[in-house]
């Protein structure tokens, strides 16, 4: 039995297989409509989430399976003091697979060690969010036709953004990728990441102005400055509007550059950019469902 805790749990070859399956699901959705009949997905969300939970639920429903679960800790036994270890033992009796989000880092891993069913980490604090990374990789592969041989700009909160850290770790396994880190000095990418890139001989630069590097980019990954990661409201207010992607900046970019964003967006991408064909962040959400469908089938070992 396998779980998914970290995007690196899967080898590059295993990811290729997963994305091939997701591609097939996107092309032939009807082939999979009964694939999980009689199976149940438990969504155990100890903190609120809209997209991730609904995306998992949509994925299971598309496969003909059923869903059960809770969407905040207050409506679960956690409010009575039940441990994650005990909860997952119970959930294992009710469902065939579990997607867990928890504010405490490592909680899904604890669940996986005690679980009788596959557990998917649906986000644990500021630590990992592997299905977002799978979604990002799937979107790049589907729309660029390749994973590798490109320059990617990551912009915004590169210090606290877990999606950014996960994506960098996943992308370094592909050939000829150049990273441009675009952030204010206060939110620059952590040293352990730049150290890792230097050690692996991966090319990267750090820049402050988005305009300076727009023409070079094949991909731009925008992120939100998250209020909940700041201890100080003043710092948050000062940094939240540091980068706003608008039509003027987009005019500097290549015709085939793609803009991705893990969403939710606040105001870092102006709504005027939404109609630009290079803005693919809403398509990304669709790929998120296909990749989660492929993941559920893979972890349940269902072949169609």
């Amino acid at each position: 039995m396998r779980h998914l805790m970290n995007p690196l749990d899967f080898t590059v070859e295993e990811l290729d297989k997963l994305f091939d399956l997701a591609d097939d699901i996107a092309t032939n959705p009807t082939k999979y409509t009964h694939a999980c009949e009689g199976k149940k997905l438990a969504t155990c969300f100890y903190e609120p989430s809209t997209r991730t939970r609904l995306s998992f639920e949509a994925a299971m429903l598309n496969l003909g399976g059923q869903i059960l679960g809770f969407s905040d800790a207050g409506s679960s036994s956690a409010s009575k003091g039940e441990s994650v270890s005990d909860t997952i033992r119970i959930i294992s009796c009710y469902a065939d697979i579990c997607a867990m989000r928890h504010p405490k880092e490592g909680a899904p891993m604890v669940a996986a060690t005690r679980s009788g069913i596959p557990v998917i980490n649906a986000g644990d604090g500021g630590h990992q969010h592997p299905t977002q990374t799978l979604t990002d990789l799937m979107t790049i592969r589907a729309l660029k036709g390749r994973l590798g041989n490109f320059t990617i700009g990551l912009c915004g909160d590169l210090k606290f953004g877990r999606t950014v850290h996960s994506l960098i770790n996943a992308l370094v396994r592909y050939p000829n990728i150049r990273f441009l880190f675009i952030s204010p000095p206060e939110l620059r990418v952590p040293d352990y990441i730049t150290d890792m890139l230097t050690e692996q001989g991966v090319s990267y630069s750090e820049v402050i102005r988005l305009e300076d590097c727009m023409p070079e980019l094949d991909l731009l990954y925008m992120t939100r400055v998250q209020r909940e990661r700041f201890f100080n409201e003043e710092d948050y207010v000062r940094l939240k509007d540091f980068y706003i992607l608008n039509r003027d900046k987009m005019s500097l970019a290549k015709d085939d550059m793609l803009v991705l964003h893990p969403l939710p967006r606040v105001n870092e991408i102006s709504v005027e950019v939404d109609d630009d064909p290079r803005a693919v962040y809403f398509k990304q959400a669709k790929y998120g469902v296909y990749v989660r469908m492929a993941l559920i089938l893979t972890l349940l070992e269902i072949d169609i």
């Binding site: 504010p103 880092e105 490592g106 604890v110 630590h127």
Partner: protein, 146 residues
């Protein structure tokens, strides 16, 4: 000069940084063993100025010495049999340590689930970096000892 006699079988842990012997005594759980233990503090040392020494008279398979390497890999471990040194063990950093240090990340699951063991995994042998198995927080000098 204080004299502590030879032991017949067991270990002599030498070159312990002065003041650390009691912490090692607890980490090796020597308090739970029914054997003779000599704790020598602040012994004179040419190499270190001052050092601590632990003499433990026990079966040589009784002790898990992995933890020693994590605490201080400069400690010399002499294995004693029939009153003589028969082996000097080289300390190798353990791949994993359990309940030796506590994770200090307030967002780690170990901060709320009390019964969970605090496990750190050797992430970088060259730089001697250990990371929490659950949240990957780096163990540092300020990490809370158990």
């Amino acid at each position: 000069m204080l004299n502590v006699g030879k032991i017949e079988e067991g270990f002599v842990l030498d070159h312990i940084e002065a003041g650390k012997s009691l912490s090692i005594y607890h980490h090796l759980q020597l308090d739970k063993l029914d054997c003779t233990v000599a704790i020598i503090k602040n012994a004179r040392s040419n190499k270190m100025g001052k050092k601590d020494i632990l003499k433990v008279e026990c079966d040589i398979d009784t002790l898990d010495l992995d933890v020693l390497a994590f605490i201080d890999h400069n400690i010399t471990v002499n294995v004693i049999k029939d009153g003589e040194i028969v082996d000097k063990k080289e300390l190798v950093l353990p791949k994993e340590i359990k309940n030796i240090i506590k994770c200090r990340n307030p967002r780690c699951i170990t901060s709320i689930e009390q019964e969970l063991p605090h496990i750190f995994v050797l992430a970088d042998e060259e730089k001697e970096v250990y990371r929490c198995k659950y949240c990957e927080e780096k163990a540092s000098d300020s990490t809370t000892p158990w």
